[in-house]
């Protein structure tokens, strides 16, 4: 193990996969000049010994995604980066009609093995066009997979799996993750897509989270522990497919559930979790599920208003207190 930032860990994942498989290439706007929106591709072309495999794209999001679909159908494994998740709506046809459906509607004649990396979430005063968490949109589309890592080690293992995987993967990476440090194994590893992990064992309440919310939930759990509450934290890792079995096992154990995300609460992925828990583990519930997320507004720039849209450890703690009462 060694301590690495998320940026370093995922850079290594890119490098390793590009060296392992010549069909993997990276493409994004500003991928050379700035090394990507978070500088997470700096030096990648030189590191893999082929600068032609890191492509600086024109500002053409629809062509970036569509070309990745076409290249994948012709046998390549593109990793494209949208710079910010808010660029995704620019190319919704390419993602939801072309990437998601080409394999199915052509009867399996081609596969769309591509990864769409999307830095997302509230960082600091970036305003409504640079902050959305859109995972629920894409979890609603058959044919796509949605992966949301929570730490440097998780990011590396999940990105490697996403690249090797034969499905189109939307890979949401909270912008605050890129500077996060954590232990990353030295040896080769991957993390399977569709398998949640119990990030913290507990018996009184299940906190179901993914992405950046995992560290916030763990922080909340520490505080709760001091108050005598044993909180279990489930890191979903992927929201499509999502690991129902692990979630339901936790719910059956604790009987109390908090679902939390940074995306707006209305029609967020928490709604799917909450509904499924209600349908399949109702008898185990001691109190109704509480789900928390951002209020139903575009994220405002002004700092105090922006703060009202974050889902923080204190919000998780108060949600846990609600399910315990």
């Amino acid at each position: 193990m060694s301590i690495k930032t998320y940026k370093e860990a995922t850079w290594e994942a890119m490098k390793e996969e590009m060296l392992r498989d010549p069909s993997v290439y990276a493409m994004a706007e500003d991928i050379i000049g700035n090394g990507g929106s978070m500088g997470h591709y700096i030096g990648l072309g030189q590191a893999v010994g082929d600068e032609n495999r890191v492509l600086d794209a024109p500002i053409s999001e629809t062509a970036i995604v569509a070309s990745a679909v076409g290249a994948a159908l012709a046998g390549m494994r593109p990793v494209i980066d949208m710079r910010f998740s808010n660029c995704l709506p620019v190319c919704m046809d390419e993602l939801t009609n072309q990437a998601a459906k080409s394999r199915y509607m052509f009867g399996g004649q081609g596969k769309v093995h591509m990864v769409v990396r999307c830095p997302d979430g509230i960082m600091k005063m970036q305003g409504a066009h640079h902050t959305d968490c859109l995972e629920a949109w894409f979890a609603h589309v058959p044919g796509l997979q949605v992966v949301i890592p929570s730490s440097p080690a998780e990011g590396k293992g999940l990105l490697k799996s996403a690249i090797r995987n034969d499905n189109p993967v939307i890979f949401f990476e909270h912008k605050t993750l890129f500077k996060m440090e954590g232990e990353v194994p030295e040896e080769e590893y991957t993390i399977p897509i569709g398998k949640a992990r119990v990030a913290r064992d507990g018996k009184d309440v299940s906190i179901i989270v993914y992405g950046v919310m995992v560290s916030r939930a763990l922080e909340a759990a520490k505080v709760l522990e001091q108050e005598g509450v044993s909180a279990e934290v489930i890191d979903l890792r992927t929201v499509s497919p999502w690991d129902k079995e692990t979630v339901l096992a936790s719910v059956r154990k604790t009987g109390r559930v908090v679902v939390a995300h940074e995306a707006v609460r209305q029609c967020g992925f928490g709604a799917e979790l909450s509904a499924t828990i209600g349908e399949e583990a109702f008898a185990s519930l001691k109190t109704p599920v509480v789900r928390i997320g951002a209020p139903f507004v575009p994220i405002p720039m002004s700092p105090h208003l922006e703060d009202m849209c974050r889902t923080l450890p204190k919000d998780i703690i108060s949600a846990v207190k609600r399910v315990l009462s």
């Binding site: 053409s60 070309s67 679909v69 076409g70 390549m76 390419e94 072309q98 199915y104 004649q109």
Partner: protein, 323 residues
Amino acid sequence: MFTKEELLSYYTTMVQIRQFDLEAKRAREAGEILGNVHVYVGEEAIATGVCACLNTTDYIESTHRGHGHTIAKGAQLKPMMAELYGKATGSCHGKGGSQHIADFKVGMLGANGIVGGGFGLAVGAALAARYQKTGAISVVFFGDGASNRGTFHEAANMAAAWRLPVIFVCENNGIACSTPHSTGGQQAVVDLSKRALGYGMESYVVDGNDFFSVYGAMKRLVKRARGGEGNCCGFLECQTHRPFGHIVGDVQRYRDPTQAKAQWEADDCIKNFERRCITAGWLEPQDFEAVQRAVSETIEQARQFAIDSPYPDKSQLFTDLYD
């Protein structure tokens, strides 16, 4: 100069497309097949002339009106017809249908239900070919209406900027779904190939009802694309007719259907081909008759194959979605 075999092969392809789509139209009108069916009748010389310049390993991206492109690229008619019927033996195992037909074996990467959906995919296929060093080139067919989409402009710019071998083939039939260009509300330029100038591409405007014009211009563009020197993209505008409605069942209240059909009949690409070959002394009328008869039999066999084939088993609902 063409050999007799080549001429007969081009003629056969055009007649296959014509008869396949007239049969598809009949079956759709009779309610034997349902769903959206866009027939390529009247535009056969374009797909045939373009694909005659391509190899099996080259890629094409198609439109809603994709049967002609698929046939011209070399697909088999039986699985194509079965696909229209939604049968398990169809090219896409019945999951795509007419509007989403594809045959990857011959480099046909798919019809597309989204107007202008194929541009970027064609760029990607050309990029893949460059990485894989296969020497394949990529062709995207699209209509005059689709040239107004931003996807065209993004893909054209990217292909040209990256020196990728992509040829943009515009089938300009003068009408976007139900809106003729004459309404003036579709685009400011009449000559759509002028758009290629903005991307530094070589471009040609040809009579899309004349196989030999399409073939000749395409041959030049393909040679340039394969050469791979500089901006090797191309743009081919083929001016043509759409004798029927946008879709089978369209009553065409936006124009006089009789007049549209009559204009096409006076300029039918298959008759034009026959006239040219006879005038030049390349082929005899009986050559055409023999092809017509043989193709009729093939189409009947394809129809029978489609009817006799089973529907996909219910167990197929979730196959080919994820690994």
